[in-house]
């Protein structure tokens, strides 16, 4: 943490949800945010992929053997086939399997939520799993969630309270409208402390000036379209290896504006 400003001192533990319309580069930014926080070395980071496409794993260069929904589906399958487990046994097994599903590297751990495929109401199981994610998260200084387009999915499946919401859009009116909608939904469904917008894949300063940025959402900064980043994506290379300039540096600036990291320009 930057001793000069100490701007994230107010948060003992930061839970960052990254949301935005599909295709705006949300997963890439989530990876870079995760990388910046992990590189700070001031605590452990848990990255949670709540997007059913499970793209964050590739972007982080971490393998996924099992998702949370695999565990959930297997449990439901066992219940449907007549295997009886009491609540205590069920919780113990879920805790065991949840930890087994965690992928780790240095001070970074990764959990994929996956795609909910089993039909029917399994509120009790979902509730237990959500409690377990909260309990697991309590061991990390930073939790970064790559959300689906809708923040309500983060709320329903992962976490009810986040400290920082990062909204991501490109300069398109559609992307920015989605961001506005996410903010409106978040205001009524998610507890958050700080929110901000990163405009991603900006082609030119002129585009940025012309973009109709939504009112009421602080602009954290922008990230220019980057050939190097696109190459990494195309080659499925982990973004943890992406050079600092220009993208990582721009995201670092955005995080400092959000108060998540110290502003090292001081």
């Amino acid at each position: 943490m930057c001793e000069g400003c100490g701007c994230h001192e107010m948060y003992e533990r930061s839970i960052v949800a990254v949301c935005g319309k599909g295709g705006v580069g949300k997963t890439s930014l989530t990876t870079i945010i995760t990388r910046i926080l992990a590189e700070q070395g001031d605590g452990k980071v848990l990255a949670i992929d709540a997007d059913p496409a499970v793209g964050l794993a590739t972007s982080l260069g971490m393998g996924v053997t099992r998702t949370l929904d695999d565990i959930r589906s297997e449990l439901i399958g066992r219940m449907q086939s007549g295997v009886k487990e009491d609540r205590r046994e069920m919780i113990a097994r879920l805790e065991y399997e949840l930890f087994e599903a965690l992928t780790e590297r240095d001070n970074l751990a990764f959990l994929a939520i996956g795609r909910p495929e089993t039909e029917g109401c399994y509120c009790q199981i979902n509730g237990i799993l959500k409690d377990m994610i909260a309990s697991l998260s309590a061991n990390f200084k930073y939790v970064v969630i790559d959300g689906e387009a809708g923040v309500e999915q983060v709320n329903r499946r992962v976490m009810e309270r986040v400290s920082h919401m990062v909204l991501v859009s490109d300069t398109s009116a559609k992307g920015l409208n989605v961001v506005k909608t996410i903010k409106d939904v978040a205001d009524t469904t998610v507890h958050y402390d700080r929110i901000g917008l990163i405009v991603n894949r900006v082609h030119s300063t002129e585009d940025l000036e012309r973009a109709k940025l939504p009112e009421g959402i602080p602009l954290l900064g922008h990230v220019f379209e980057d050939r190097q980043l696109r190459d990494f994506d195309l080659e499925a290379r982990p973004l943890l290896e992406l050079p600092e300039e220009p993208v990582v540096h721009s995201v670092r600036h955005c995080l400092a504006n959000l108060g998540l990291i110290g502003d090292h320009r001081h």
């Binding site: 046994e89 113990a92 930890f99 780790e104 309590a138």
Partner: protein, 235 residues
Amino acid sequence: MVFDECYEELRRYMEKHQGASGRVDKDSSWPLGKRSSIVLTEDTAIELGHPQTESAAFILLTDDKSKVNDGQVTVIGPDLDQTSEKKLAFGKVIILAVDNYDHDQLFDRYAELDQVRHNAILDGYMLRAVPQDMREWSRISRQAVKRGINFQKMASAIYSQYHAHEGVTAVETLFVTKGSAEVAGLKEIGTKVGRIVAAMNKMAFEMHLDCHGCEFEDVCEEVGELRKMRDQKKA
């Protein structure tokens, strides 16, 4: 008692494998930690019973106090400070002498005492367990190893936890780290214990006592005490 045969089998197993035995020391008992704490790979010195290795963990009850060497801890295989391995197959059995033993409440009593080992969370020791599969997966932090954690200190903490429990009159602990084959041998005994517990569970919670087609028919036929319990229920 329903576990008598398993008990005898365990004693034969211990006789065969000849572990190193010592006594618990209440003064050097390993401190308790927080239940929610996890140990990540980065901070892990040793993993015991990792999902890709053998694991067997269970408790065994008897109502005969003379059968349990109270305070004894036996280790078959290397202790935590005697190995350079990062992952070890792991077996753990806690043998308990209990009084006020009642057939009708035996399942509840077993479940209650089994829970004690899961609640006894040691500092720097992350425990994940599937009691119904008799599996335990633990990670011991580098910090805990540096501070001198070993099986005797762990057993001392377990001993105190169980002795604080009403009706527990003696506690003996066995740890196995020698190898997969040795832990697999222990698992066979654990599986029998698990089947007896599952049969008791069924008797305790299901009204239907027709043995025909019951998945535990073989267990009840083998264990005389279970047959008695079933006949009492039927009567």
